[in-house]
């Protein structure tokens, strides 16, 4: 037995090492987020002022505010909500409540899963081809909202369907047994109880849409506009694209304005996620079944 002796550890020591490794791994997942937020706050906060939030950009965007980008992102998010919520919710209700499990619905589900995996720039090109050129909507809020809607649909459909399915089947049976129609059952029992879950999914999906650059790049985002968009068929500035522009396309850009813009976008998106979280935990506390 001439093998070199390895330093042997007791089972207890092995366990402690294991735990240490796991704790390290989980810390590493949250650490980048904290660093990013802290750094952006540090760099961007000095830029934030009432004027920065409410004024038009000036001096080739090197000065003034980012109001048109903020309002543009707001419009785009709203537009996405208008198109994606009814379609997404309708599809989710169909899949969860009406559709039978057959080849057709399996194909729909497979498509939804795959839609979620398509890179966002592909949505951008598709939106340009379909909405901007073929349907002649031009580079506009309408085209960009529709493109973002298609990208958001898989998130909304799958979270809404999950929320609908989490309502116990027995409630549906009871409701039907009391002479209610399927539609009444969905409207009176299933939807109200699935609503918090649906809202959570909708808001998370919209939050993601609000932060996307690629899908709006070819479909509705403007490099610079001296005025606010006046109709659905106008192009608009938007926070993510504005950020891209001032970071790469404008020489001599003050760093503070860049980080100020990042901060505004971040607060916008994080707020939406926090709202989603609040809805979910409130509903969970109130739920009786």
């Amino acid at each position: 037995m001439n093998q070199p002796r390895l330093p042997s550890l007791s089972p207890r020591q092995v366990e402690r090492l294991g735990f240490l490794g796991l704790a390290l791994a989980s810390t590493l997942t949250i650490l980048p987020i904290f660093i990013i937020i802290a750094y952006i706050l540090y760099q961007g906060f000095p830029a934030i002022s009432w004027n920065f939030l409410t004024e038009m950009p000036s001096d080739g965007m090197r000065q003034g505010g980012i109001f048109p980008a903020i309002i543009g992102t707001f419009y785009l998010t709203l537009g996405t909500a208008v198109f994606s919520i009814p379609i997404g919710l309708g599809a989710a209700i169909y899949l969860s409540e009406y559709a039978r499990d057959n080849a057709w619905t399996r194909l729909i589900r497979l498509t939804i899963i795959n839609l979620a995996g398509i890179p966002s720039v592909v949505y951008g090109l598709f939106g340009m081809g379909l909405f901007v050129i073929f349907l002649k909507f031009g580079t506009s809020i309408l085209s960009a909202s529709l493109t973002l809607s298609i990208m958001t649909l898989p998130v909304i459909i799958s979270t809404a369907e999950e929320a609908l399915r989490s309502v116990p089947q027995s409630f549906r049976v009871v409701s039907i047994s009391l002479g209610a129609t399927r539609w009444q059952t969905i409207w009176k029992i299933v939807l109200p109880n699935a609503l918090p879950g649906i809202l959570t999914g909708v808001i998370l999906g919209l939050g993601r849409a609000a932060g996307e650059t690629a899908p709006i790049l070819f479909t509705g985002a403007a490099f610079f506009l001296p005025h606010l968009p006046g109709s659905l068929f106008d192009a608009t500035m938007a926070l993510p694209y504005h950020l891209f522009v001032i970071s790469t396309q404008v020489p001599g850009m003050p760093i503070q304005i860049q980080y100020g813009t990042v901060l505004v976008l971040l607060v916008f998106v994080i707020n939406m996620n926090l709202i989603a979280n609040a809805i979910r935990s409130r509903a969970r506390a109130k739920r009786q079944w």
């Binding site: 027995s170 409630f171 039907i176 047994s177 009391l178 002479g179 209610a180």
Partner: protein
């Protein structure tokens, strides 16, 4: 007494091959309590759920024969199932209140049927809760959640919910299997009183319960109706050997 339900050559099987019914023939009398006894999986639930077409929600592979209620074949595809379910109510094994208030649970069926007048709803809710012997316990908190009351109260609420629709037939699928003895006694007591104005079919959760409340007893075994007799005969002098073995507790 009139025959309220006449079942002729009823056969049924599910796509997943679980429970089934084989050529059931049965005459159920009005204002009687008919108990369906037999081991689990014998077809009692399936039979009950056929009577108000609740089976439509599951995957039925085959259904044949006739079920006549007041002379009308309810298996006919043209049957108005909404109307049928208002006329034939069901109480399930576990109390399943809808996630609504006590009042809303009882008023639910009527509201879905289009009743909007507050006075009519109030009246129906109070009457149904009295009939289910629950009014005294909940009359001062009708707007509380139906989940705030005990399991036994919840099951009486489920009975009241059915009664509010003023059905003609009430089906109860092991209604007391999840309840304590006191709540069980209250439900049994309600049924005794209710049978003067309703036709009641119950799958009791024990043979003893069948003995306490039933007028007629049907013995189901593996999808087959083995024997259908008045309760007194069923427990003293059944003709079939399998019935004898079952009621005397030799299997099940």
């Amino acid at each position: 007494m009139e025959d309220k339900i006449i079942v002729e050559h009823l056969s049924l099987s599910y796509s997943d091959g679980t429970e089934s019914l084989q050529d059931i023939n049965l005459h159920i009398k009005e204002n009687n309590i008919t108990a369906l006894i037999g081991p689990a999986g014998g077809g009692k639930s399936t039979f009950l759920r056929t009577l108000n077409r609740l089976n439509d929600l599951t995957d039925i592979k085959l259904i044949s024969g006739k079920v006549l209620i007041d002379g009308e074949n309810i298996l006919d595809p043209r049957t108005d199932v909404i109307h049928l379910r208002q006329k034939v109510g069901i109480v399930f094994a576990r109390p399943i209140p809808l996630p609504l208030s006590i009042y809303e649970n009882v008023a639910y069926g009527l509201q879905m049927a289009g009743e909007k007048r507050k006075s009519a709803l109030d009246e129906a809710v109070e009457r149904a809760l009295h009939q289910a012997q629950l009014w005294d316990e909940v009359h001062d908190r009708l707007s509380a959640s139906a989940y705030a009351i005990s399991g036994g109260q919840q099951q009486r609420l489920c009975l009241a919910r059915v009664l509010a629709l003023q059905p003609e037939i009430i089906l109860l699928d092991e209604p007391t299997s999840a309840l304590d003895p006191i709540s069980t006694a209250k439900i049994e007591n309600s049924l005794e009183i209710l049978k003067s104005s309703y036709t009641i079919l119950v799958a009791p959760h024990s043979t003893q319960q069948a003995g306490r409340i039933a007028d007629d007893v049907a013995f189901f075994l593996q999808g087959e109706l083995v024997e259908f007799l008045p309760a007194t005969l069923m427990f003293t002098n059944p003709r079939d050997k399998r019935t004898q073995d079952y009621v005397q507790g030799r299997f099940g």
